[in-house]
């Protein structure tokens, strides 16, 4: 592996516009990656603020702060913003920054398209947030947008639909870029089966995105024409079927879960070996597991629809297929554990978040397995058990993994080490408050509390109060992350090229911070 020629970088910088125009016109993968990451953090704050409103309303029985309509709008936007505005762009940010560095490419394949796929996002994000101001407010249907409720809603729904179209375009452009980059721009000797797992997960995720984002776009477009142009795709009165929408939505929606989870797996597969000082266990089986999860994810969508009235044979098939996903997922967990086994473990913040991920994501996986069992799911469908389950997968899964990645690569991005003590505080506070918020929600669901309600019966009061307190704590703890990041950008201990001493991967062969241009001469991999 070769070191980079960073005198080139300085030369190129002269051609860059400065100030705001630098960011608006940039085609540099690192700049764009940075923008993706900041955008996603801002959206995370916005979506997080909404969850604070939700938990404040649920702090005790009765209606206190917001009307039921606004409550429905809050849960809808919270979910749409967190999924499409925060988590997905965060991992695209990681992809932009790290894929070229990991595979020894000078930049992304389509640099200008990369700029566009980013700049669509703020427009789409404003569309979603701005819909709160529309007459009648934002969509209040939940992020699943089920008709006929979504056909009834006001203009906020149209804004959400338009926002989703834009987000879809952005994702597809981003995916085309990632696939092309990985397939064409790998350094000589970097065969696919030598490629770091983070890049592997993104290669597969990008295919998933290209496959399902158009499906979502189709679903919401049909919704739009039902709303305004007199079609009846989803109305029985005109020969349509409301449940058809659910089939299409979840055909997108289930792979979407893995669109979020796979890159998270990728980050974890980088962090765990680095802090175990041992190569990843079962590299090849990891790749096959990712691929099989991706493929199976297309065939399990109706496990979200067990109570819609699908036939018995459908229920049986979707139950078995869903259970099957546990096999490749199990392989991944076992491989991670085996990677740590007889390693030389140290527990810096990225590793702590990776371990937190492993522990809690596995728990979320198990509650998923419980939900896969149709007869049990009938009891738990649309209750807080489901809310608990997917927050274990989305927050403790995807978000913790994003934090692991952020702490792991911050030295490479900023050239400084973050403050380890504060990082550990951030981890422990997040871990404790996360469980306080969401663990008790399993019990609420078991006791029968439906999700998406602004007010509840008295027997649910105690757990809801604990959950709300946990949520406030969790929300506040995330501000600590913002502080740590800003502090690291401004200064701190200088980071070495290999900030962790012996972390594997090409990204650690270039200086920290990574110069504006890297690998203009491809490194040679033996």
């Amino acid at each position: 592996m070769e070191a980079v020629h960073d005198h080139h970088a300085a030369d190129h910088d002269h051609h860059q516009p400065s100030g705001l125009m630098r960011w608006i016109t940039t085609t540099n993968h690192k700049d764009i990656g940075t923008m993706y990451l900041w955008f996603s953090f801002i959206m995370f704050m916005v979506g997080g603020a909404m969850s604070m409103v939700i938990r404040a309303e649920l702090f005790e029985p009765g209606l206190q702060f917001i009307s039921p309509e606004r409550y429905n709008q809050m849960i809808t936007l919270h979910a749409l913003i967190m999924v499409f505005g925060a988590i997905m762009p965060a991992f695209v940010g990681f992809a932009n920054w790290m894929i070229p560095l990991q595979i020894g490419a000078p930049d992304m394949a389509f640099a200008r398209m990369n700029n566009w796929s980013f700049w669509i996002l703020p427009v789409a994000g404003s569309m979603l947030v701005g819909s709160l101001l529309a007459p009648g407010g934002a969509a209040g249907t939940g992020w699943t947008l089920y008709p006929p409720l979504s056909v009834q809603s006001g203009m906020g729904m149209d804004m959400a639909i338009f926002g989703i179209h834009l987000l879809g375009m952005s994702s597809i452009m981003g995916s085309i870029n990632i696939i092309t980059t990985i397939l064409n721009l790998r350094a000589p000797g970097m065969t696919l089966m030598k490629m770091p797992l983070f890049s592997w997960t993104w290669l597969i995720t990008a295919y998933l995105l290209i496959a399902v984002m158009p499906v979502l776009a189709g679903a919401v477009t049909m919704l739009l024409t039902d709303r305004h142009f007199g079609t009846s795709f989803f109305s029985a009165a005109g020969g349509g079927d409301p449940v058809l929408f659910q089939h299409i939505f979840w055909f997108f929606g289930h792979p979407e879960v893995y669109i979020i989870a796979l890159p998270a797996f990728g980050v974890i597969s980088e962090v765990i070996p680095a802090f175990s000082r041992k190569p990843i266990f079962g590299y090849a089986s990891m790749v096959y597991a990712i691929a099989s999860i991706a493929i199976i994810s297309f065939f399990v969508w109706a496990h979200h629809m067990y109570v819609t009235g699908i036939p018995l044979t459908g229920q049986l098939y979707f139950m078995y297929a869903t259970m099957l996903i546990a096999v490749p997922t199990g392989v991944k967990v076992f491989n991670w554990v085996a990677t740590m086994w007889r390693g030389s473990l140290s527990f810096e913040t990225p590793m702590l978040f990776a371990l937190g991920f492993l522990f809690l994501f596995t728990l979320g996986g198990f509650s998923g397995l419980v939900l896969a069992i149709t007869a049990v799911d009938v009891q738990l469908q649309d209750t807080y058990y489901v809310v608990a389950h997917f927050h274990y997968v989305m927050v403790a899964g995807a978000l913790f993994s994003a934090y692991a990645g952020a702490y792991y690569w911050l030295p490479k991005w900023t050239g400084h080490m973050y403050n380890e003590t504060l990082g550990k505080w951030h981890f422990w506070l997040s871990l404790i408050f996360f469980n306080m918020t969401f663990f008790v929600q399993h019990f609420l669901g078991l006791a029968g509390m439906p999700r998406r309600i602004p007010d509840y019966a008295l027997q649910f009061a105690d757990f809801n109060r604990i959950s709300s307190l946990g949520a406030f704590g969790f929300g506040l703890s995330q501000l600590l992350f913002l502080y740590i990041v800003i502090k690291t950008i401004k200064g701190g201990k200088k980071a070495e090229a290999n900030a962790w001493g012996d972390a594997p991967g090409l990204e650690w062969t270039v200086p920290s911070p990574a110069p504006h241009h890297t690998f203009e001469v491809p490194p040679v991999i033996k």
Binding site: P61, L63, S285, V378, G448, P450
Partner: protein
Amino acid sequence: MNVTMNTLVKWLSATALGLMLLPGTASAAWQLNLSPPVSHAGFVAYELHNFMTLICLVIFIGVFAVLGYSLYAHRKSKGHKAAGFHENLAVEIAWIAVPFVILVVMAVPATKALLDLRDASEPDITIKATGYQWKWGYDYLKGDGEGVHFMSVLATPRDQIEGKEPKGEHYLLEVDNPVVVPVNKKVRILTTANDVIHSWSMQEFGIKQDAVPGFIRDAAFKAEKEGTYRGQCSELCGKDHGFMPIVVEVVSAEKYAAWVDEQKKKMAAAMGDPNKVWTLDEMKAYGEKVYTTNCVACHQANGKGIPGAFPALDGSKIATGPNADHINRVLNGKTGTAMAAFGNQLSDTDIAAVITYERNSWGNKTGDLIQPAEIKAARK
């Protein structure tokens, strides 16, 4: 195979019960498990859930005990040196095969439970549950009680919800007219909806079934214990989704017969005399009641609606324009909006009254008096 499986399920779930505190003994506020079931399907789901949770717990503890040991013993700070291994075919095959076998062990009782749950054949009583925004309508279609029908609306007073009054014991889980069914009879519930998707669910019976407008789905239960059971609409259906509970009273055969009699008498009385001629004041007073149970959620008590979502009736063109348009809107609703057709929910008298009320309340001062006979005529 099946017998051993059953014993295994029973044995494991008994242990799980011990672990999880019996819901019967734990106080309701800290309930940690599904509610105690009272039907066969509910019971099967309950045991299955315990069985699944227990297996998951055992695996979870197993895996993380190994990891925990590793985190302790293989620390760099203790000077542990990393080993170099990174694959092992036998191990990798084992942890594909073993989970697969465990899944098969889970799938067997899961399949059996589902077959039990889905059996809606040969019911003693068939009841249609229709979801409306935001209440339930029930029609007893077949079996004892055939012909009984009524609406079931949240009974919790608004003041309790807004915190102006202390909340009662069954806050948000009480209705004016509960569903009543006899004990130990198989009841088939047909679900459908009038406007958007709702979901009829009752945990103790082990059922939850979406109510989809334009379609009919079914679910069945046989309640084995008398008592009052409470559930809630379980599919987001708009503003008052959290305020349309489901209450089922399971009673003895005699009590059920008495209840059916009473209902039939009530229904006959409620039909009213369609040829009676009402005065404006009588109509307005009755109309206000109809308005409060059926319209207030959207159009609000002050008639101002909710801007952007539900129009104001105070000063509305329709509520102050020609009678016929107003009658038509209430009878037939407006498709594609939340304004439902009330023609099939309310009697001629109800509709005449509510329209009279709307035309003579708030700022509306048309002086129009609509008689039930006009509604009857408009239906044709």
